[in-house]
């Protein structure tokens, strides 16, 4: 036992010298490397944006790394970004779990000469070079509430099931929608505060069952975050209440197919996340080449983008609505 360990230790020492010598010459490759970091990996939405980001890398002939934490934890994201700065990349595009927490590490990245972009969810505006938005947040929030009223009528009880209480983009849409509803649809009655579901369909399903039990007059459920409407629809489907409770929300058409088909989910509304991933990589690549985005610019495979007056906030376009009739024609 002892001999084996001694030999092992000696080998490691030798190895260390080899490595230490090898590390003198820092590997420099001239290939551009762009990191795209989602809030977390392993949920359908971010899987879809991965395919877009990787495709863009192939089309442009550059190296795209798509990686992120397995839980939506800001601390984990910061650690991964620090490691990637050590690795040495050209651009970092991040969808922050929490904008404030990213600021120090993104400043570190800038100091190291790395281009910093945010996508999906905005980071601290003072540290990013470009900000890629899928949508105009206020318009989108209002659109969701328009869909709700279209399905449940403009009076009655409804509830909001959201991914997480601290997700900035979800909160922005909900706040925009609530402000709009107050003005436009005074007959709507929100029965309780927004219900968090940990970005999980299973939790959304449970919580919606609870809501149905607690509020017998419930006429509508708004699901915000991609798994939430699915969970809500699943609960309504199981209870056989799809005629009395209208579920609308932000979901992917392929995932929501089974619920859209029998109308337990009335309407889903979203942008194409693959396109968003694609656009993010293209924008980062253009930025590295010194090319600024232009309002109305036509991006191949994405479409026309709009750019705000600040010159760095890029909006991909209006959302698409998915219903029983059209969901099968979408590929994401």
């Amino acid at each position: 036992m002892k001999r084996v360990l001694t030999v092992l230790l000696l080998m490691m020492f030798c190895l260390s010298f080899v490595v230490a010598n090898g590390s003198q010459e820092v590997a420099v490759s001239d290939e551009i490397t762009i990191v795209v970091m989602p809030k977390l990996v392993g949920i359908p939405y971010f899987n879809a944006s991965e395919t877009g980001a990787i495709q863009a890398g192939k089309d442009l002939g550059i190296n795209v790394i798509y990686t992120g934490p397995t839980t939506p934890d800001a601390a984990e994201q910061v650690r991964m970004l620090e490691d990637l700065i050590s690795k040495g990349v050209d651009a970092i595009c991040v969808a922050p779990n929490d904008a404030a927490a990213m600021t120090p590490v993104l400043m570190k990245a800038k100091k190291a000469g790395i281009a910093v972009l945010d996508w999906d969810t905005p980071a601290d505006a003072s540290v990013v070079d470009l900000s890629i938005h899928q949508i105009d947040d206020r318009e989108y929030g209002e659109h969701i509430w328009d869909l709700l009223v279209q399905e449940m009528g403009d009076t009655g009880d409804y509830a909001i099931v959201t991914g997480g209480l601290s997700a900035a983009n979800l909160n922005t849409w909900i706040d925009a929608g609530l402000a709009y509803a107050k003005k436009q649809y005074p007959g709507l009655n929100l029965v309780t505060g927004k219900v968090p579901t940990d970005e999980k369909q299973q939790v959304a399903y449970q919580k919606t069952l609870d809501l149905i039990k607690a509020y017998p007059n419930l006429k509508g459920v708004v699901g915000v975050s991609t798994p939430a409407p699915l969970g809500a629809a699943q609960a309504v489907q199981e209870k056989g209440m799809k005629d009395s409770i209208a579920v609308v929300g932000t979901s992917l058409p392929t995932d929501s197919g089974p619920y859209l088909a029998d109308e337990s989910l009335r309407v889903g509304t979203l942008w194409d996340p693959a396109k968003l991933g694609y656009l993010t990589v293209v924008m980062a690549y253009n930025f590295l080449n010194g090319e600024k985005p232009q309002d109305g610019q036509e991006i191949a495979n994405v479409g026309k983008i709009s750019v705000w007056a600040d010159g760095r906030t890029v909006i991909m376009g209006p959302p698409a609505d998915f219903t029983k009739e059209n969901y099968a024609s979408f590929s994401f």
């Binding site: 036992m1 002892k2 360990l5 092992l8 230790l9 490691m12 190895l15 260390s16 490595v19 230490a20 090898g22 590390s23 003198q24 010459e25 820092v26 590997a27 990996v41 392993g42 790394i65 990686t67 992120g68 934490p69 397995t70 839980t71 939506p72 934890d73 800001a74 601390a75 984990e76 910061v78 650690r79 991964m80 620090e82 490691d83 990637l84 700065i85 050590s86 690795k87 040495g88 779990n97 929490d98 904008a99 404030a100 927490a101 990213m102 600021t103 120090p104 997480g164 209480l165 601290s166 997700a167 909160n171």
Partner: protein, 324 residues
């Protein structure tokens, strides 16, 4: 002397240290010039302490035969409350250093309250630690969310950020804090009377009681100390992320349990060394950073981590069995 070295190498900690060296060199080989760069070593030295302190906090509770599931939320609740005070003083134009001191004192005070709560429920009411702290976890999360409404507390004075990002003689301040805490917890757990009582309680609370150990009081104090450690980790996190929020570090919770167990702490209590936990934390850090830099798929990273945990536990189990 010779037999002392031999004993050290075949001890749990010795084996762990060999594993640490092994993964360290493996990672250096995988990403030549990147993993072993000064920049990365420093970046790891900033990352390690916040998790390391949480793991030590978890470990001393596990040694009593308990567990603290409210660990990360204790840290975040205290940093939210302390952070609010700090941000307010700073916004009112108060002295930065004074604001930082007040903030840190309140963070530690808030965590002590959390610790008193946990300790009281576990030691004096006698609720199973897992259930008591599970409840406390939800409670602390709820209080935090009520304060922040889901947002983050920010606007800390500049001086506060230095704690998480400054250096003294080239060594990151978090690392210095971590080393101090390692020495402190080592003296406390392995060199003090109270530490000895903790091991006794973890082995067999009844025997400890009949041997004249004040079991309830010691357990209560252990939860209190563990919570103060959590608050220190909270200070580091808040400073490194320049903000405070209820979900920061939530992924550290189970990792802290894993690090304790990987470090040779018996999950049912009574056994475990500070050195083991520290080396385990270093192993997890090196693997996580190393694989990140190498660019391994994130799911596979989890697989590797889980695999190493199981292999080490098996080795520990087998060597223990053989020595008996």
């Amino acid at each position: 002397m010779k037999s002392g070295v031999k004993k050290l190498i075949v001890s749990k900690e010795g084996i762990l240290f060999c594993i640490f060296l092994f993964v360290f060199f493996l990672m250096s080989l995988l990403s030549p010039g990147r993993f072993l760069s000064w920049y990365n070593l420093q970046s790891m030295a900033y990352q390690l302490p916040e998790f390391g302190i949480l793991a030590l906090s978890m470990m001393i509770v596990i040694v009593t035969g308990g567990i603290n599931l409210s660990l990360t939320y204790t840290a975040t609740l205290s940093m939210i409350v302390g952070g609010m005070v700090m941000a307010n003083i700073s916004a009112a134009g108060g002295n930065g250093i004074l604001a930082v001191l007040a903030g840190i004192v309140i963070m530690i005070g808030m965590a002590s309250l959390c610790g008193v709560f946990n300790g009281f429920v576990v030691a004096y009411i006698g609720v199973t630690p897992m259930l008591a702290t599970l409840g406390a976890m939800t409670l602390f999360e709820g209080i935090s969310l009520n304060i922040t409404k889901g947002g983050a507390i920010s606007g800390f004075p500049f001086e506060f950020l230095m704690i998480g990002s400054g250096t003294v003689l080239g060594i990151p301040i978090p690392m210095i804090l971590f080393i101090l805490i390692i020495v402190g917890t080592w003296l406390f757990l392995e060199r003090s009377k109270m530490g000895m009582s903790i091991y006794m309680i973890g082995c067999n609370p009844k025997v400890a009681l009949y041997s004249g150990v004040r079991v309830k009081r010691i357990i209560f104090q252990t939860y209190l100390i563990a919570s103060v450690l959590a608050a220190i980790a909270g200070v580091l996190m808040a400073s490194r992320y320049n903000s405070a929020k209820e979900s920061y570090g939530s992924s550290y919770l189970l990792q802290a349990v894993a690090a304790s167990v990987l470090g040779g702490t018996n999950i049912s209590g009574g056994e475990g060394k500070i050195a083991g936990t520290v080396i385990a934390v270093m192993i997890l850090q090196v693997i996580s950073s190393g694989l990140n830099i190498f660019g391994l798929n994130r799911y596979l990273t989890n697989v590797v981590m889980g695999g190493i945990l199981i292999v080490v536990l098996t080795i520990n189990f087998l060597t223990e069995k053989r020595s008996k």
